[in-house]
């Protein structure tokens, strides 16, 4: 079955959405991500949407539920790379993405995730997947 790859980098999970996702694939991503947050004890999730040409109400809802589910599992989510045309369209559609943290690019997104790491938590190396 078609899947969107989830990469692990230290205590963070990285997802880059490269395909025109159909709704079932979006649902699968949501489930896979929550599974991986628990399994890897992840502290942050970074979702790169720079290749997405639209964010409609379904994808918006998916991003919102990924953010709130990961928060419940003690991980912060940052959505990065939204195209300006997508942002303009989302506002007109009425989609606010409230509760979803965003950043302009991967680098700024990673900075935000690092800031959210709890103080005293030890630094982690980029380790191999278990």
């Amino acid at each position: 079955m078609e899947k969107i790859p989830i990469l692990k980098m230290g205590r963070f999970l990285l997802v880059s959405i490269q395909v025109d996702m159909h709704d079932r694939l979006a649902m699968t991503l949501q489930e896979d991500l929550t599974d991986r947050i628990v399994k890897e004890n992840a502290r942050g999730v970074l979702i790169d949407i720079s290749s997405m040409e639209i964010v409609d109400s379904f994808i918006g809802r998916m991003l919102g539920s990924i953010a709130s589910m990961s928060r419940m599992l003690n991980a912060e989510t940052v959505v990065v790379g939204m195209q300006p045309a997508v942002a303009i369209t989302m506002v007109e559609l009425g989609l606010s993405l409230s509760g979803v943290r965003t950043a302009l690019d991967v680098e700024k997104g990673m900075e935000i995730l690092h800031r959210f790491r709890q103080p005293g938590e030890e630094e982690t190396d980029i380790d191999d997947q278990a």
Binding site: D23, I54, D56, G60, R61, I88, L93, G94, L95
Partner: protein, 132 residues
């Protein structure tokens, strides 16, 4: 020149296909990137409604001309249960499913013309147009 395409809309894969075909025609018609994005987003919303609530149907995507202007017109039609209270369904936040209730009201904002024709037991037809 009038271009005209009919697409079956029965599954979430068909929703993807609608987005791709609408994008191709919007590019061909010379719409700006922002306009393309608005039209594709409206198409995605309406196609998903056709699948999720209308039990499937079809879309007709066409390039239209009027008074020297070019437009892209999308028609979504199904023979599903129809909508009892259209005014209510058009409100932001109203959903009989688990949605955000933004598909119909949002598509109306994204397009220049919006027309909905629906009655209980008669199915639903939504026609939207954006002019360049």
């Amino acid at each position: 020149m009038t271009r005209h395409e009919k697409i079956e809309v029965r599954s979430s894969d068909d929703v993807v296909k609608v987005r791709q075909r609408v994008r191709a025609l919007a590019v061909e018609a010379g719409f700006s990137l922002v306009d393309q994005t608005k039209i594709i987003t409206a198409a995605s919303e309406l196609a998903r409604n056709t699948v999720n609530y209308g039990g499937g149907g079809h879309a007709i995507v066409s390039l239209v001309k009027s008074n020297g202007r070019t437009g892209l017109r999308l028609v979504f039609e199904d023979r599903g249960p129809g909508i009892t209270d259209i005014e209510l369904a058009m409100q932001d936040g109203y959903s009989t499913g688990a949605g955000l209730g933004l598909g119909l009201s949002g598509s109306r904002r994204l397009m220049h013309e919006f027309e909905i024709d629906s009655a209980p037991g008669q199915g639903t037809k939504v026609t939207v147009t954006r002019w360049r």
